[in-house]
């Protein structure tokens, strides 16, 4: 006879694990975005003042001012780094919750086994 409390605790634990996985995936995406943006930033900084920079917006290439492009890329990098910090904090919090939940599940499992043990007298 399944203990409903145990079943619920297991569900919550599984949900937390899925959240952790989704968070880890987001983290990977952010890492690759940070890398790419850093490379673009470096390239833009290497350019001469009179260089011609274009940004692709949809199917069109729009000429951009070099300084403006550099600023935009810097701002974008800061934004992504902020997102990254958020994601890392979330990971720490989720991990703590998951550990707690796992301990609860094990406690309930032990309790259930105990109860089943006393409920079944020797055949």
């Amino acid at each position: 006879m399944a203990d409903p409390q145990l079943a619920e605790a297991v569900q919550t634990f599984k949900a937390l694990q899925q959240e952790l996985q989704a968070n880890a995936q987001t983290r990977q995406q952010l890492i690759s975005q940070i890398n790419e943006t850093e490379m673009v930033k470096e390239e833009l900084e290497r350019l001469d003042e009179d260089s011609t920079v274009y940004k692709q917006i949809g199917p069109a290439m729009i000429k951009q001012d070099l300084v403006e492009a550099q600023t935009n890329v810097s701002k974008r990098l800061e934004f992504i780094q902020g997102e990254m910090r958020r994601v890392c904090d979330k990971h720490v919090a989720l991990e703590a919750k998951a550990k707690e939940q796992q301990a609860l599940v094990m406690k309930l499992q032990a309790k259930q086994q105990q109860q089943q043990g006393t409920a079944q007298p020797a055949a």
């Binding site: 880890a24 943006t37 673009v40 833009l44 260089s51 274009y54 940004k55 917006i57 951009q64 890329v73």
Partner: protein
Amino acid sequence: MAAQPQQEAVNIATLGPQQLNVLREQLSQEVDDLADSHATLGRLALRSSSAARAVETLGESKKDQAVLLPLTQSLYVKGKVADTERVMVNIGTDYYVEMTIEKAADYCRRRTTFLQQQQQGVQKAAQERQKALNQVTNVLQQKIRALQSSQPSSSGGVS
């Protein structure tokens, strides 16, 4: 590649066969993923170095020289070289820069070097993982053999 932020150093001799198996599969997956990364980086580095050569060749050609432009992988059209001085370079995140041939070739070469360095880093990591995988596999096999020898085989049956 599922990377764990911290990996506690665990003495694999203390782990049971089931845990060892889980670890073994995890390491195996990591080795495969690293091999994929290594191959991808190699392809990209090759593309970069081809681009450098292509740009240099363009620079050496003359204006209005006849060229064949690919429309698809098997369909080409005749064209003429328009500009042997400047090219448009994709530097990432939808940004393009008009560069001289020299600067563009330099960009390509720098990118090639960067990708090759990344590739070497990945190779090192892959070798380390493979070593760890071998160790775990050995210990696992030892433990399995130990378990089998301590339990008389049940297929023996009474004749």
